[in-house]
Structure formats: structure tokens, C-alpha cells
């Protein structure tokens, strides 16, 4: 019954989306007065998707094995949290989560956004309904999450559980966070489409778009950071980023959203970069859809093995072609009618942000090309190849480093025209950067170029990023400025972590017998032996390691888990964090002579990567909070005195 109720709610939501689209057209044209109705329909549509998703969570919580999706992706023995997470750890469930977020974002937009003209808002809601409609069709026609089990196949294959790799607390939060981010960008897309329809591309539009972009960007940042850490400790390969197509699929929308976040500020403050900002708003969500397509269609091989089905791939590709094609066509038609606002000079904050946007776009292009290049080579020459980390690191790396330098400079420039001597303010950070360079040259003369430059620039940026606060009354500085400083400082921290990881990691691979000692970096690791153990739905072999570097001994217990349902083996790394790095240990198989494979890494300052990612997101959250408080204050009936408005 619950599954059928969920399916019914989904059909109703789809019907409401169609109604919302149909009503929005005459409303925007002005032939009917339907604005209030369109908004109400958007809210109810959001509610129905929430009901459908709750129903899916319920059947997973109860392990209702008569629902095909549950039978294929869950079993009774699983811990409760993974039963719930199983709801979106599969194709159908995650697509339902996708449309739920899409519709709920539309509902929130209908309720909260008041800045643009009514016509633009309704046009945006129409665009949002059109987006949702395609994904409802996809769910209902090609991937029904509520389908009942086919008993005949069930008897042959039996129920299976969630892929053990995904049985991890990371899974409970990582995909939903990314989805919220991806789909949050849909509002920016719809607003851009709406504004292109009404040709009201102005600073009001930018202010309406900004919180959605910021919110989506924060969630994408968190999602990517969490995903990176999850891959780091769960896959047991010791790397934090693999340039895997699925990772790139999340990085591309983030790059576009980062560029959009900056250009939307130019549009808000100076009414400039109109066409460019609209292009980016369309592009950011398009990249989310491309990412979803790449992950779901299986056109690119990846460590993220999802159920693959050509029918679904074709369906998603059709949706992608229709939506992005329509938006790009609209852009091509309307772009000549967008008049650019105030001009700016070569050295100004505007041009700084233009350079930021150009660099981010070029990096985006590099990632995009690298991800899809194997596909095109195979299409043209039939040759199979894969593009790996060396390409991405050597092509995108230098650009990213150059961008990191500009991150230190840009915020010091003033709007329109720079009169103050900016370079003088950067003396101290520049000196610190050079000092870092000299130290690395003295202590580690054989370092590769990129990690060395990374450490230098991280030092420079860490010192340069707080400069916008210098000389201001700290309490009266807007939260948005604080947010910017924290985010930019976070970039320096993450960069330092990546460079340190690249420069100073020590690795040791060995076959060890119980009682042997191994050295890795400053550590001596004693291998005590291997003991069998049992978990709730797996058995395991647990190695006992005792590590020391002079003072004190720490115990580490890396494990190999053997799952029976489905049959699979995973390595659970044992990781110990210290202030100056992480000791990362993995136990593998036993070799015929009785030794065990051990992999040990000492990774100095590697945690800075994710700490930096978190700081970047926290900075975004501060900015969002600042804007929200300001909007709330501005929304109060009592007018603020002019002197306050100027400073807050």
C-alpha cells in the first residue's frame, strides 16, 4: 500500500508540474492573472514529492522486500542507518531524491523570492516546472522506484544488500548533499531562463539569484570535500582525488558555480557582465545534468559502478539536449537585447573578477575535455584510451595556482577603477611566500615544481586573504566580507594540504610476518599479527599494528571485511590523525608463505585538504547568513536610518 501511495503522489506531482507550466505561459504574457495560482501549485507539487520520498524511506526502513528496489538494494541484516541510506544508494531512489529536491527548491523559491519582477518570477517557475516534468517522466516511465518485485526473478536471484563499499556513514550524507547542490543550481538556471524571456537582466535579478547560487555552492563544496574524504579512507588507496569521471562530474558544476558566484556579484553591484552571467547560470545547472548523465548512463567507465541501462541513458540524454538546447537557443536570441551596464577600467575589481571567471572557465573546459576526450577519440579513431591524473594535474594545476595568486590580489581592488597602490599592501604576503620558497629549496631541494609552487602560493594566500579586513572596523565589517575572507583562507589551507601531501608523503608496501618491523617516514611500525573478528553483516581479518616515532606507541587495526550478501571484500584502512599529518595503514591478503600484505603511508598535513574544504564552505555559509540577515532587516517595515545602511 505504501509503495502505491508513493507512486500516486509522484503522478500527482507530475500533473501539478504540467499545470504549473501551462499556467505560467499566459501569466507571463499577461493574458491571465495566474501568479498566485502558479506559486500555490509549485508549493503543493513540492509537498507531493516530499510525500513520495517519505514513502520510499518508509519501505526501506521496514525492509519491504515486495518492493523490487528494496529487494535489490537492501536486506534485513543491514544496520538501520544503511537501510535508510539504501533508499538513495541506487539509481531509482537517487533520481527520486533528485526530483524531490528539484520540486522542493521550486516551492521554496515560490514562497521566498520577492526581489525580481512578478513576470520574471513566474517565468522562472514555469522553467522550473518544465525541468521537473522531464524528470518525472524519466522516473515514471524508465525508473519507477515503487515497482513491486517480480516473484519469478526474485526466486532465482534472491535478495541482495547494499554494495558494502557504500555501507558507510559517508554515504548517508555525501550523495544527498551533492544533489542539494546540483539541484539548487536549477533555480539559478530557471531564473536565468525567466529573465531572458522577460529580458529583465538587472541587479535585482542578480540579488534574487545570489542566495540560491551561494547555497548550492556551499553544498557542492561540502559534498565534494566529504566525497573526497570518503574515497580517501574507504577505498584504501591513500589518494584524495582520482580524476575519476564521476568525481569530475561533481567538480564541473562546482567550477561553474564558483565562477557564477563571482560574476553574479558584478551583476548585482555594477549591472555589468549580463550576458556572461546568464550564460554561467545556464551552464552551471547544465553541468549538473551532464554529470548526472555521465554517472547514470554508463558511457564512461568509472570506479563508481552504478546500474547501467541504455534506455535510461537515452532518456537522460534527450532531457539534457532539450533543456540545455532550449536555454542556449534562448540565450542566442536574447543576448543582443542585453545592454551592458557601467564600464570599468583595466585595473578594477570588475576586471579582476573577469580574469577569475576566465581562469575558472578554462579549468572547467580542461576538466570537461579530459573527461570526455576518451569518448571522442574512440568515436573518431576507434582507439581506447583513458585520461588520467598526469593530464589534469599538469594542465589544470598551473592555472589553478595562478588563480590562487589572484585570489590574494582580487579582493583588494576597488570597483570600477583602482587608485590605491595595491601591490604595496601585498608586500608582507609576498615576502612570506618567498620565505616559504627559500625554506623548501633549502630543506627539500629535489621537490617537484608543482608541490613547491603550491606551498609557496599557499603561504602567500594565507597571508593575503585576511587583508580586506585590515583597516576596517572589524565589528562593522559585513558578514559577507568575513565569509569571503574565510573562504579564500580555506583555499590557502586546502592548497597547502595538497602540496604537502604531494611533496612529503612516504609510502611503504611490504609483505610482513608477525613480529616484523617496518619503517615509513619517521615511524617504525611493528606488525603483531592478524586476528579474525565478526561484525553485524560481515566477518573480518584484523591486523594489529603498533606504531612509534620516539615518544609513545599508538595501536592501529586495519581490517579486511568479507561480506556475504553480496559477496565482496573491502579494505578498511586504519588511520590515525596527528597534528602534523596522518598515518594510514591497510592490510591486504595473505601470501602463500604466510606473510601479510601491508601498505603504510605517512601523509604530513594531509588533513589540511579537507579542513580547507570545510573552511571554504563555512565562508560561504557566513556570506549567506550575512545576506539573509540583511534581507530580513531590509524586509522589516520600519525604515532603517541612512547612516546604518551605509555601514552594515
Amino acid at each position: 500500500m505504501i509503495a502505491e501511495a508513493g507512486l500516486a503522489a509522484l503522478w500527482l506531482a507530475a500533473g501539478l508540474a504540467a499545470l504549473q507550466l501551462l499556467l505560467s505561459v499566459p501569466t507571463v504574457r499577461g493574458t491571465i492573472d495566474g501568479a498566485a495560482t502558479v506559486r500555490a501549485v509549485a508549493v503543493v507539487q513540492g509537498l507531493f514529492t516530499l510525500i513520495a520520498f517519505t514513502m520510499l524511506l518508509t519501505v526501506f526502513a521496514r525492509t519491504d522486500l515486495s518492493v523490487a528496489l528494496v529487494a535489490d538494494n537492501s536486506n534485513v541484516a543491514q544496520p538501520f542507518i544503511y537501510k535508510i541510506a539504501g533508499a538513495w544508494g541506487n539509481h531509482e531512489g537517487s533520481m527520486l531524491l533528485w526530483v524531490t529536491v528539484l520540486a522542493v527548491a521550486g516551492a521554496a523559491f515560490a514562497l521566498l523570492s520577492h526581489r525580481t519582477s512578478e513576470a520574471t518570477r513566474i517565468a522562472a517557475l514555469g522553467a522550473q516546472a518544465a525541468l521537473a516534468l522531464g524528470f518525472y517522466a524519466f522516473l515514471l516511465i524508465a525508473s519507477n522506484p515503487f515497482a513491486r518485485v517480480d516473484l519469478a526473478t526474485m526466486l532465482i536471484t534472491g535478495p541482495t544488500g547494499l554494495n558494502p563499499l557504500l555501507q558507510d556513514p559517508g554515504l548517508a550524507f555525501h550523495p544527498p548533499t551533492l544533489y542539494l547542490g546540483y539541484v539548487g543550481l536549477s533555480i539559478a538556471f530557471s531564473l536565468a531562463v525567466g529573465a531572458l524571456i522577460t529580458t529583465e537582466v538587472d541587479s535585482r535579478l542578480a540579488r534574487a539569484m545570489r542566495p540560491w547560487v551561494l547555497g548550492a555552492w556551499i553544498l557542492l563544496t561540502l559534498g565534494i570535500t566529504a566525497g573526497s574524504y570518503w574515497a580517501y579512507y574507504e577505498l584504501g588507496w591513500g589518494g584524495f582525488w582520482f580524476w575519476d569521471p564521476v568525481e569530475n562530474a561533481s567538480l564541473m558544476p562546482w567550477l561553474a558555480a564558483t565562477a557564477l558566484l563571482h560574476s553574479v556579484n558584478v551583476l548585482a553591484a555594477r549591472a555589468a557582465l549580463k550576458a556572461w552571467t546568464m550564460m554561467l547560470a545556464v551552464l552551471a545547472f547544465s553541468m549538473s545534468m551532464v554529470g548526472t548523465f555521465l554517472v547514470r548512463s554508463g558511457v564512461l567507465t568509472s570506479v563508481h559502478a552504478f546500474a547501467i541501462d541504455p534506455e535510461r541513458g537515452t532518456f537522460l540524454l534527450a532531457l539534457l539536449a532539450i533543456y540545455v538546447g532550449a536555454a542556449f537557443t534562448l540565450f542566442a536570441i536574447r543576448a543582443p537585447r542585453l545592454r551592458e551596464g557601467a564600464p570599468f577600467e583595466l585595473v578594477s575589481r570588475e576586471s579582476g573578477l573577469v580574469v577569475n571567471n576566465l581562469l575558472l572557465s578554462v579549468i572547467l573546459g580542461i576538466v570537461f575535455l579530459g573527461t570526455l576526450y576518451p569518448l571522442f577519440v574512440e568515436a573518431i579513431s576507434g582507439e581506447k584510451l583513458s585520461v588520467g591524473a598526469p593530464y589534469f594535474n599538469s594542465v589544470a594545476g598551473p592555472l589553478a595556482l595562478f588563480l590562487a595568486v589572484l585570489v590574494g590580489v582580487g579582493p583588494l581592488l576597488s570597483w570600477r577603477r583602482e587608485r590605491r597602490p595595491v601591490l604595496k599592501r601585498l608586500t608582507v604576503p609576498a615576502l612570506l611566500g618567498v620565505t616559504a620558497l627559500v625554506i623548501t629549496l633549502a630543506l627539500a631541494p629535489t621537490l617537484a615544481l608543482l608541490p613547491r609552487l603550491g606551498l609557496t602560493i599557499a603561504m602567500f594566500l594565507a597571508a593575503a586573504s585576511p587583508l580586506p579586513l585590515i583597516g576596517r572596523n572589524v565589528l562593522r565589517t559585513p558578514l559577507a566580507t568575513w565569509g569571503m575572507v574565510v573562504s579564500h583562507f580555506g583555499i590557502a589551507v586546502a592548497l597547502a594540504g595538497m602540496a604537502a601531501n604531494g611533496a612529503f608523503t612516504s609510502e611503504r608496501l611490504a609483505v610482513a610476518r608477525p613480529g616484523e618491523q617496518l619503517g615509513v617516514g619517521p615511524w617504525t611500525v611493528a606488525f603483531g599479527g592478524v586476528m579474525p573478528a565478526a561484525g553485524k553483516n560481515f566477518t573480518s581479518m584484523e591486523a594489529e599494528l603498533r606504531a612509534s616515532r620516539g615518544e609513545g606507541v599508538v595501536a592501529l587495526r586495519p581490517e579486511t571485511h568479507y561480506f556475504s550478501d553480496p559477496v565482496m571484500e573491502t579494505n578498511e584502512a586504519a588511520i590515525r590523525t596527528f597534528w602534523d599529518g596522518q598515518l594510514y595503514t591497510v592490510v591486504g591478503r595473505q601470501d602463500p608463505s604466510g606473510g601479510w600484505q601491508l601498505r603504510l603511508w605517512w601523509k604530513p598535513f594531509v588533513t589540511l585538504i579537507w579542513a580547507g574544504g570545510a573552511l571554504i564552505a563555512i565562508g560561504g555559509a557566513l556570506a549567506l547568513l550575512g545576506r539573509a540577515l540583511r534581507g530580513w532587516r531590509a524586509g522589516r517595515p520600519r525604515p532603517e536610518p541612512d547612516w546604518r545602511r551605509r555601514y552594515i
Binding site: M279, G313, L317, L320, A332, F376
Partner: protein, 175 residues
């Protein structure tokens, strides 16, 4: 903004979609191809195991016309269903030879009496020697061997009824 620039995103999109459509239309070949395909059958001579049926040696396979070599066992459950399919192939004029892996004569005779006997020759491979030489990791597996004794195709797992046309096509190709 120039006309070229305005339509550039659309042009890139069309290219991308074309590439992806091509990719969806030509699925990736994920099949594992045997290393032995194109190689001669390794030399072996297996004794008979079933009364009245000759044993099998590699020279029997180079008989001037394609044959199907089936690695099987009476203790193998999927082989029970596969025998029916092999008999269909036999009925179409295909010569099927068997390598019985780690089998016992009474068990095998009972197996053939119960399920039917599609085999022209059966060689007994009590220690899996020939099976390993053939690069076969389990039972059942089948090899299409052409008239000169060269392996043209290796089929891992039982031949399903739906795969009969495919096997016939492979045998046709081996002529």
C-alpha cells in the same frame, strides 16, 4: 555580442550530444576474449570412460570440419540443462565432443542415460589437466574448433537455448 559567440554554446552542445548519442548506440565491448582463440588445441590424448564410446585426443578434433568441444562433468548442475541444448545442436548436424572432468564411469553413464547423450567422443580428464591446458576455469565451457584443430571461440558457462543461433554462427564462421 557577435553572432558566432552567441551560437557557440549551442554548437558545442550539438557536438557533445552527437558524441554521446554515438556512444550510447555503440555499447562498450565488455566481453573477455580468450587468449586461446586463434591458437591450436593443446595436444592431449584422453582415454575412454563410457563403455562403447571412444576416448578423445587432440588429433580427433582436426577432422576437416568444425566441431564443438564441451568441457563438462556429471556432477555439474548447469551441465544438466546444457545437455538438452547440446542435443539440439547435435540434431542440426553439429559434432559435439566431450571432456569429462573429474568424473566416475558409473556416474557419467547414469548422467547420459538420464539426460540424453549428444557426444560423439568423450575423453576422461580425471585431474583437470586438459581442462587447465585449454584455459578453462570451470564447467561447463565450450570451444568451437575448426577443421584444422584451431580454437575459434571459447564460451564460458552453459550454452543457453537462446545462444544456439550465436553458436551456430560461430561454427559457420569456422568453416
Amino acid at each position: 555580442m557577435s553572432r558566432v559567440l552567441r551560437f557557440a554554446p549551442l554548437a558545442i552542445l550539438v557536438l557533445l550530444i552527437a558524441g554521446l548519442v554515438w556512444r550510447l548506440a555503440t555499447p562498450v565491448d565488455t566481453d573477455v576474449h580468450s587468449r586461446l582463440e586463434g591458437q591450436p588445441v593443446p595436444a592431449f590424448a584422453l582415454p575412454a570412460i563410457v563403455p562403447g564410446k571412444p576416448g578423445l585426443s587432440s588429433t580427433d578434433l582436426a577432422s576437416g570440419r568444425p566441431r564443438l568441444l564441451n568441457v563438462f562433468a556429471s556432477w555439474c548442475v548447469p551441465c544438466v540443462t546444457e545437455v538438452g541444448v547440446l542435443r539440439q545442436l547435435q540434431a542440426r548436424g553439429i559434432t559435439v565432443d566431450g571432456v569429462a572432468v573429474r568424473d566416475r564411469a558409473p556416474d557419467l553413464s547414469a548422467f547420459l542415460a538420464r539426460n540424453g547423450d549428444p557426444y560423439e567422443r568423450i575423453g576422461s580428464d580425471p585431474e583437470s589437466r586438459v581442462q587447465i591446458d585449454l584455459g578453462s576455469s570451470g564447467v561447463p565451457e565450450s570451444f568451437v574448433v575448426d577443421g584444422r584443430g584451431i580454437i575459434r571461440y571459447q564460451h564460458i558457462g552453459p550454452i543457453e537455448a537462446s545462444e544456439v543461433p550465436m553458436i551456430l554462427a560461430e561454427l559457420e564462421k569456422a568453416k
